[in-house]
């Protein structure tokens, strides 16, 4: 009874990937992979997704801790707000970022006037767009891990005289490490695949803001084979990272 829809679901997820593999121009693959544009886009994607994940960890773990461990009014509203970027179309996220951090944006206007800082069309802009869409994944994973962990360990440490920071560092973090890692991986994967917010907020320029998904999209206009090769690379990179991390730390 359940096997049929399960098989259909599996086929629906796997067939498109198989279709991609069938159509890849294997004979010209090595030459195409060595093209500087491909390597440039790949390098940019890896660097920006990793930078975005680092920032997400730095901001997201404390945010998750606040949501899970601190009682305050409006906590549920706050949690709902954090999940908005999860359901928001990324293009809309990109427009929202422009309206706030763009050169004429609410905050961007002042950053430009006072410090000469502008984010659109820069690699920093790409990282910002990725953080916007990926941070909720990390926060939700870590918050889940925190809720599942037993607060009595933390209380015990506190009664033994440990400060809040020591408790967090020595007790809480080791307890939720698998959750943080899982969240980090999800966050990285989401950042790597980011398209809509990036092309809207950061634009598209090779070497600076053209990440792999943007390169795939533009290659599709004139050279579908190149798009296939790029897609294959992106697929392999994501699978490798996910598999490696899973085997090592996640069960």
């Amino acid at each position: 009874m359940l096997a049929l829809p399960a098989a259909a679901g599996l086929a629906f997820l796997v067939l498109p990937l198989a279709g991609l593999l069938v159509r890849v121009p294997w004979s010209t693959l090595p030459a195409r992979l060595a093209e500087p544009q491909v390597l440039e886009a790949l390098r940019l994607s890896l660097v920006t997704a990793t930078a975005a994940t680092a920032v997400c960890l730095f901001l997201g773990v404390p945010l998750a801790w606040v949501l899970a461990r601190v009682e305050f009014r409006g906590r549920r509203v706050l949690r709902a707000l954090i999940t908005v970027p999860l359901v928001l179309p990324p293009v809309v996220g990109g427009v929202a970022l422009l309206l706030v951090l763009g050169r004429n944006g609410l905050i961007g206007r002042h950053l430009d006037a006072w410090f000469g800082l502008t984010f659109p069309f820069t690699t920093t802009g790409v990282v910002l767009a990725q953080i916007f869409v990926a941070l909720p994944f990390l926060v939700i994973s870590v918050e889940g891990a925190l809720r599942a962990s037993d607060p009595r360990y933390e209380e015990a440490a506190a009664t033994l005289g440990a400060s809040r920071w020591t408790v967090f560092r020595r007790v809480t973090l080791p307890l939720i490490a698998p959750g943080v890692l899982a969240g980090g991986v999800l966050c990285w994967a989401r950042a790597l695949g980011e398209f809509g917010a990036t092309i809207t907020f950061a634009g598209n320029f090779p070497g600076r803001t053209q990440t792999m998904p943007l390169a795939v999209y533009l290659a599709l206009e004139t050279d579908p084979d190149a798009a296939l090769v790029l897609s294959l690379v992106l697929l392999l990179v994501s699978l490798t990272v996910l598999a490696a991390l899973r085997d090592r730390w996640l069960h």
Binding site: P89, V91, V92, V95, L98, L99, G102, R103, N104, P120, F121, G196, I199, T200, A202, G203, N204, F205, P206, T209, Q210, Y217, L218, L220, E221, T222, P224
Partner: protein, 249 residues
């Protein structure tokens, strides 16, 4: 602001729905794939067409001509293809998916600058200043190919901050004030109303884009497709296009 937001999100939504939505009610729908720069004129012509053909719905998929051409080659169910360059039309005719196209309009580039004059761009040569932020269309799409040709004619080396995927996206970067200048079609400057200022330049005359239109061989509604194409090529179509700033072929 909100209108701009919609202007940005709408083509995307259309592109996403166009693949699945056409042909659902047999011969009563005609699906037109048209270059982004035709958004305003074709929408108007579509309304005219619906007025004279009661019960018929004209559905549009506006986007960069190269994207549309690829979608058609990949089997998207379209009746009419109107592109912004013979090169993108060739993608479709080379795949034996359509007969000989007819040229129905010509378009030329202009420099679009913000109305507040920020960036101080007045001539094409100003775009080569590294301090000036310039948006161009990607060279894969017709407006980008035309821009590269015009800049080449002028002997200018311009390093843009972004290469956008279609002409409307390029123009939006100016209307939002994120860049100091962009090379877009004259018709897009006119369509933007007072939101940007257009500057004509002589080299644009060397990079004129011909707009071809054709009925696709696999058209689900070939009769309506022919009638819509005839409307575009008619006196009435000519007037709408001229009013929007297109040159006659």
């Amino acid at each position: 602001m909100f209108r701009r937001l919609i202007a940005l999100a709408l083509p995307l939504a259309l592109a996403l729905t166009a693949c699945s939505s056409s042909g659902s009610d047999g011969g009563k729908t005609v699906t037109v794939f048209a270059a982004a720069s035709l958004t305003e004129t074709f929408t108007e012509l579509g309304r005219e067409f619906e007025k004279t053909h009661s019960g018929v719905e004209v559905r549009f998929n506006f986007g960069s001509s190269s994207t549309l051409a690829q979608q058609i080659v990949q089997g998207a169910p379209a009746d009419v293809f109107a592109s912004a360059s013979p090169a993108t039309m060739k993608t479709v005719t080379d795949a034996s998916l359509a007969g000989a196209p007819s040229t129905f309009a010509r378009n030329r580039l202009e420099i679009a600058v913000p109305v507040d004059g920020r960036g101080g761009v007045e001539t094409l040569a100003d775009l080569a200043d590294p301090k000036v932020k310039v948006a161009l269309c990607a060279e894969q799409v017709p407006c980008g190919a035309a821009a590269a040709k015009a800049l080449g004619e002028a002997g200018l080396k311009v390093v843009p901050v972004t290469l956008e995927q279609d002409v409307k996206a390029t123009l939006t970067k100016v209307t939002l004030g994120e860049v100091d200048a962009a090379l877009v079609y004259r018709t897009d400057v006119i369509a933007a109303g007072g939101e940007v200022k257009g500057i004509a330049f002589p080299e644009a005359g060397k990079a004129i884009n011909d707009y071809p239109i054709t009925v696709l061989d696999g058209a689900p509604s070939p009769a309506l497709a022919g009638e819509f194409t005839a409307l575009v090529l008619s006196e009435q179509g000519r007037n709408v296009l001229t009013e929007a700033g297109f040159d006659a072929p």
